[in-house]
């Protein structure tokens, strides 16, 4: 099955924060290191820093604690303080693939009381469909991402019950 004949698959999540639109945009794009789940390193070592270069065409990458640099994708649109579109170019084998693109669009909307609504849409996940079997093998590998998945699931449950 070709990728584009498959229906678009996306994930949409949102959150409201007590900061102005400009501050929220700045926090999201410059402090990713501080809110990115630590377990989610693609590189050879733990994450020291997550960097989003502040312009269209900029790079999105992680610095490892061992000094290595591992690309994640690119900045497809830089429109402060309203919107940033990042291309997540991590393929089904959890390696950077310049020919693979999924899109993470983050929009920042002003709300009453100086708050900002952050909506994140991760689009074109159907593009993982072509490598579904490979993906499943990785998910099912006990040494692979299943542990991370389980940790995320626990976190999610903890958050829900709080």
């Amino acid at each position: 099955m070709s990728t584009e004949s498959t229906a678009a698959v996306e994930v949409v999540r949102s959150v409201s924060v007590p900061l102005s639109q400009a501050r929220t945009f700045e926090l999201f794009t410059t402090r990713m290191t501080d809110f990115w789940p630590k377990e989610h390193s693609i590189g050879s070592s733990d994450i020291a820093e997550v960097v989003v270069e502040p312009h269209t065409g900029g790079r999105w990458f992680e610095h490892g604690v061992d000094g290595s640099e591992c690309p994640w994708g690119r900045v497809a649109a830089w429109d402060p303080p309203r919107k940033v579109v990042l291309l997540w170019q991590i393929g089904a084998n959890w390696q950077f693939d310049p020919d693979f693109e999924t899109e993470v669009e983050v929009t920042f909307t002003e709300e009453a009381g100086g708050r900002t609504h952050v909506e994140l849409a991760h689009r074109n996940l159907q593009r993982y469909g072509d490598a579904t079997e490979q993906m499943r093998a990785i998910f099912d590998d006990p040494k692979g991402w299943t542990g991370t998945l389980a940790a995320f699931a626990e976190l999610t449950i903890a958050e829900t019950q709080r």
């Binding site: 809110f35 789940p37 989610h40 996940l125 993982y128 958050e159």
Partner: protein, 127 residues
């Protein structure tokens, strides 16, 4: 949030919904086409599709004015569930960070206000 096992089992526990899935296995279809092939009304098919969608067993796409439904590939359910949980955690972390920043801002404002309201010690002394 990815569909729970209960949601999926409930969705599959209905004969009409299973029939809809069997039709969709053959290829994507619109509500009207499904209704023509099944002994149920169009609104009933829509209702069943909604349940199947919530269980992430089918996905919907819009082509012009037409809505097409198709089987959600099992692997994609896993992928989608993974990213759904991932972004939920990440945005929760972000909200915590934002709340911390707001606290810090408020403390700074309060400190500045307190400093302004305090009488100048030098002046008070010479009064």
């Amino acid at each position: 949030m990815a569909a729970s096992v209960d949601t999926v089992l409930d969705a599959l526990g209905d004969r009409t919904r299973r029939a809809i899935l069997e039709k969709l296995v053959l290829g994507p279809a619109a509500v009207g086409v499904l209704a023509d092939q099944l002994p149920v009304s169009r609104p009933a098919v829509s209702q069943h599709l909604r349940v199947l969608k919530e269980a992430e067993l089918v996905v919907e796409s819009v082509a012009g004015t037409r809505r097409l439904y198709r089987i959600n590939q099992a692997g994609l359910v896993v992928v989608r569930g993974y990213f759904d949980r991932f972004w939920e955690t990440t945005l929760d972390n972000f909200a915590l960070l934002a709340a911390t920043e707001t606290e810090a801002d408020n403390r700074k404002v309060r400190r500045e206000q307190a400093n302004r309201n305090r009488p100048d010690p030098g002046r008070t002394h010479h009064k």
